[in-house]
């Protein structure tokens, strides 16, 4: 493989770029010089990077919903409702699932049917099909920064279009938008494609345009142990920084144990910063995002509010720069705009109640931070070793060897042998570490934690625990105990 973690040279970038823009008709509209001029006029309050930087400085947690429908005008209406009625600080545009697989022809069907039936038949906005014209219309008709949120292994054309349209942030990354979202896309390909997306952002940076990038920390949203997702975040942050990205938001999905959650967020921020500095990316502005519980929700709306609010508590106590909000409709389907606004309101209320309050340092918190950092370091060390110092190569080999192993991921490039489960206090531990190269201490620690639970539940440690834990929250409990 000729993959390597090195800034793409202009020649290579622009050569690829021609192919990318050719891949669908709307690509031809993108002109970098014109886009730079357009982006220069974006006011600070509509620029993701600025708004995040300000929030970090002020110690404030911003609130962002997910939201995407098939039609432009409905999308504008939706975003304005979430901004004005809901009080969202940052706006999303979720991209539909055909676009995520680059199936733009199927998007056309979705757009047509949605127009005809006057209801969205797509689960997001097909931004590529609309091209710059449609996407700029969205940007121009809202009053807050806009970000694309998707799950696209190859989002090069999407990135070109959204950034050129004034959308000042792009979510995703080579691992996080591949392994949980695709079946047959190799990491080699997704790393290369995301190097392109990151290089595009780097290019804008070099031309005085600040853009934000956000690796997707929640991954499969299903019992992902903190050190697994933190390792992915560190890798994607380093890969992005190499391409010239200067404003990065690393993420984490709420697990449910308060101390573990806060510890994970602290470890994430500190350790990512350490790695960035170690590899010479000292000028990256790093922020964090907490995803409210990303696994299965209970169908009952009152119960959903309980989880939403608890996720907001984690965001506040851990000092997250922003929080991504779930809605009371989560278990059933894409929320109505009212339900979406309600999720934001419950979140904001909780954040406002806790404004300025952080979890105090305790023996327990310190211990958990250290565990997460130590586990993450074992993984990172091995990745660098496998890549003989090259992170891109190491990551591909690491996934091949199950050094990082994301639970329940659909990708065939993920080993899938690791099994997580909750310990007796709800913290997520490694039930089977499989090939994850932990030190003996860490292996013993994880084992002991699960034995403790097994003893309490009078059963043996097994995959049955994992299955029970997957269902638990949707059934109203954190831990899937036998009854």
């Amino acid at each position: 493989m000729n993959l390597i973690n090195k800034k793409l040279c202009d020649e290579e970038f622009f050569k690829t770029r021609n192919e990318v823009l050719e891949s669908w008709s709307t690509g031809k509209e993108v002109n970098l010089h014109e886009s730079i001029e357009y982006l220069k006029k974006v006011p600070n309050y509509k620029n993701f990077s600025f708004v995040l930087k300000k929030a970090k400085k002020e110690g404030v947690t911003l609130v962002q919903p997910r939201a995407g429908v098939a039609l432009i005008d409905k999308q504008i209406e939706l975003l304005n409702f979430l901004s004005k009625e809901g009080g969202a600080d940052l706006l999303p545009t979720t991209i539909d699932s055909y676009t995520r697989q680059n199936r733009y022809r199927e998007c056309e069907v979705g757009i047509n049917e949605s127009t005809k039936e006057n209801r969205s038949l797509l689960n997001g906005l097909p931004a590529v099909n609309y091209g710059i014209k449609g996407c700029r219309k969205i940007y121009e008709n809202v009053d807050k920064p806009v970000q694309a949120r998707h799950g696209t292994p190859d989002s090069r054309l999407l990135a070109e279009i959204i950034h050129a349209s004034g959308w000042t942030s792009n979510e995703g990354g080579s691992i996080s938008y591949n392994i949980p979202y695709a079946k047959n896309v190799s990491l080699e390909k997704s790393i290369a494609d995301w190097q392109y997306c990151d290089r595009l952002v780097g290019f804008y940076e070099e031309n005085g345009i600040e853009l934000n990038r956000e690796p997707f920390g929640a991954l499969t949203g299903t019992l992902v142990p903190p050190s697994t997702s933190n390792a992915c975040m560190i890798i994607e942050a380093l890969l992005a920084a190499e391409q010239g990205v200067k404003n990065i938001t690393v993420g984490y999905g709420q697990c449910g144990n308060l101390i573990q959650d806060v510890a994970a967020m602290r470890a994430l921020e500190e350790q990512t910063k350490e790695y960035l500095n170690k590899y010479g990316y000292n000028d990256v502005l790093l922020t964090t995002v907490l995803h409210q519980w990303m696994g299965g929700f209970p169908a009952d709306e009152a119960k959903a509010y309980g989880i939403i609010s608890l996720g907001s508590t984690v965001a506040s106590l851990s000092g997250a720069t922003k929080v991504i909000v779930k809605t009371p409709h989560e278990a059933i389907g894409i929320p109505t705009m009212e339900a979406n606004a309600n999720g934001i309101k419950a979140t904001k209320m909780t954040l406002n109640m806790l404004s300025g309050q952080r979890m105090a340092m305790s023996k327990e918190l310190e211990f958990e931070i250290n565990i997460i950092k130590a586990e993450t370091k074992c993984i990172m060390d091995k990745i660098f070793e496998l890549g003989k110092g090259d992170l891109a190569v190491g990551t591909v080999k690491g996934f091949e060897g199950g050094i990082i192993d994301i639970p329940f991921a659909p990708s065939k490039y993920n080993s899938g042998k690791m099994m997580p489960a909750r310990d007796n206090y709800g913290a997520i531990r490694y039930l089977f570490t499989a090939n994850i190269p932990f030190s003996k201490d860490l292996l013993d620690f994880n084992k002991a934690k699960l034995e403790e639970r097994a003893k309490h539940e009078k059963r043996t440690v097994s995959f049955k625990m994992t299955v029970d834990d997957i269902y638990a929250v949707s059934k109203g409990k954190l831990i899937g105990r036998p009854n």
Binding site: N123, F408, V467
Partner: protein, 145 residues
């Protein structure tokens, strides 16, 4: 009695893998012969797997909302491929958003599905129906509920 054969998969551009992995485990455990084609499976993938395995039933999941588009024409495709008597189940979060279940149910029945399940259906319910439809009453297809 021979084990009945079920093709299990998640249709369309849908990547939701958790339910699929659990269904594989649970349906196998319940005594069915499960052919799991996984997530991101097209109608063709389902039909080909059914032809190859001589399946009795397609167990179609759709979680991501676009199932309504993805599922249209599946029955016709089955008919055209000589899978005339095959049973079709569909479940998950099969439409976009919280819609009136009656309407959704009807919409999918009229596409030719034999059973259509709302969000949060437990695997027990599915297994009970499978047993009924596959073992107790072979002629079920005709009197589609």
């Amino acid at each position: 009695m021979d084990k009945k054969i079920i093709v299990l998969g998640v249709i369309g551009s849908d990547c939701h893998a958790v339910g699929n992995k659990i269904l594989d485990y649970v349906l196998t455990d319940a005594g069915f012969n499960v052919v799991n084609i996984g997530v991101l499976s097209s109608q063709e993938d389902f039909v080909n797997a059914a032809l190859e395995s001589k399946a009795d039933l397609l167990f179609v999941s759709s979680l991501y909302g676009q199932g309504e588009i993805d599922c249209r024409g599946l029955r016709e495709k089955c008919n055209n491929s000589g899978l005339k008597d095959i049973l079709l189940y569909v479940g998950g979060n099969i439409v976009v958003g919280k819609q009136k279940w009656e309407d959704v149910h009807k919409r999918f029945l009229s596409m030719g599905f034999n059973r259509v399940y709302p969000p949060g259906t437990s695997t027990d319910t599915a297994i009970k129906d499978l047993n009924k439809d596959l073992y107790y009453d072979e002629s079920f297809t005709k009197k589609a509920m």
